[in-house]
């Protein structure tokens, strides 16, 4: 069985998997995005490293999901790759749309009158 088919099947059967996506392993998500964007721009690890002033093994570490780089390094990476910070950190397996915080506030606001009625 192909892994894409299996994952699609699991995500359909267990929506909770996609709900936790944003909480899971940001370095792996960053790694996936850096690797994809670097390939799309035809850059080597050494070239990207030179562009942001770090060593090539540092980029290799970020791309393997081992490193948990500083926000300033992530910002430099985003600039060098010509994307926004959020594009670098978005989970492309499950791109979240909308603002979770806004949803939490909305849900609470809906919950309040119900609570008051119950009292």
């Amino acid at each position: 069985m192909r892994i894409e088919e299996l994952f699609a099947q699991i995500e359909a059967e267990h929506p909770e998997v996609t709900a936790v996506a944003h909480e899971v392993d940001p370095p792996a998500i960053l790694a996936l995005n850096v690797m994809r964007l670097r390939a799309e721009r035809g850059l080597t690890q050494a070239q990207l490293a030179a562009a942001i002033g770090v060593s090539q093994p540092r980029i290799a570490g970020i791309e393997s999901g081992d490193a948990n780089p500083r926000l300033s390094t992530v910002s430099k990476l985003a600039h060098a790759l010509g994307v926004t910070l959020s594009e670098l950190l978005v989970d492309n397996l499950n791109p979240t749309r909308g603002l979770p915080a806004a949803k939490i506030v909305r849900d609470r606001a809906e919950e309040e009158p119900r609570k008051r009625r119950a009292m």
Binding site: M1, R2, I3, L6, F7, Q9, I10, E13, H14, E16, V17, A19, V20, A21, E23, V24, D25, A28, I29, A31, L32, M35, R36, A39, E40, R41, G42, A60, G61, E63, S64, G65, D66, L93
Partner: protein, 145 residues
């Protein structure tokens, strides 16, 4: 623009079509969605990497010449997923066994996991690559004919 090439990955199925790796991943998605998601991310990462790069990182270890082990950490729990690179099918990766908790793999059990993975690898290669050889021969004959 050079799009990133992702390797094909499939999960091992026995001759009867049973797939305990898929069953274990489904079970994990139900019991621990975060761990499942972490494993999914690591598999995606592995698909995009060259094996040399994966081995240099902490993502993959190679206990034998043919078997690799994907290492995944989710909170306090570690998973180990043995896999191999198919000699045919353009280097497709095949996940061989269900996710093993590392805590259950102390001593001889790690060795047993690798041996079990090797048996499955040999079974998969015998069944699958043979079919590909036959398909190639048929294609060559058809070209000649």
């Amino acid at each position: 623009m050079e799009p990133l090439v992702k390797r094909d990955v499939e999960v091992y199925e026995d001759v009867a079509g049973r797939c305990d790796t898929a069953d274990a991943l489904k079970q994990l998605a139900r019991s621990d969605p975060r761990a499942f998601r972490t494993i999914q991310n690591k598999i995606e990462l592995l698909r995009q990497m060259e094996m040399r790069q994966a081995l240099e990182s902490r993502l993959v270890k190679q206990p034998t010449a043919t078997i690799f082990v994907l290492r995944v950490q989710s909170g306090p729990v570690s998973f180990r997923l043995p896999f191999f690179e198919s000699p045919c099918h353009g280097g497709k990766l095949v996940l061989l066994t269900h996710c093993e908790h590392r805590t259950l793999l102390r001593g001889d059990r790690y060795k047993a996991m690798v041996e079990g993975a090797e048996r499955r690898r040999q079974d998969w290669v015998r069944r699958t690559c043979k079919e590909e050889r036959h398909a190639n021969r048929r294609a060559v004959r058809a070209d000649r004919g």
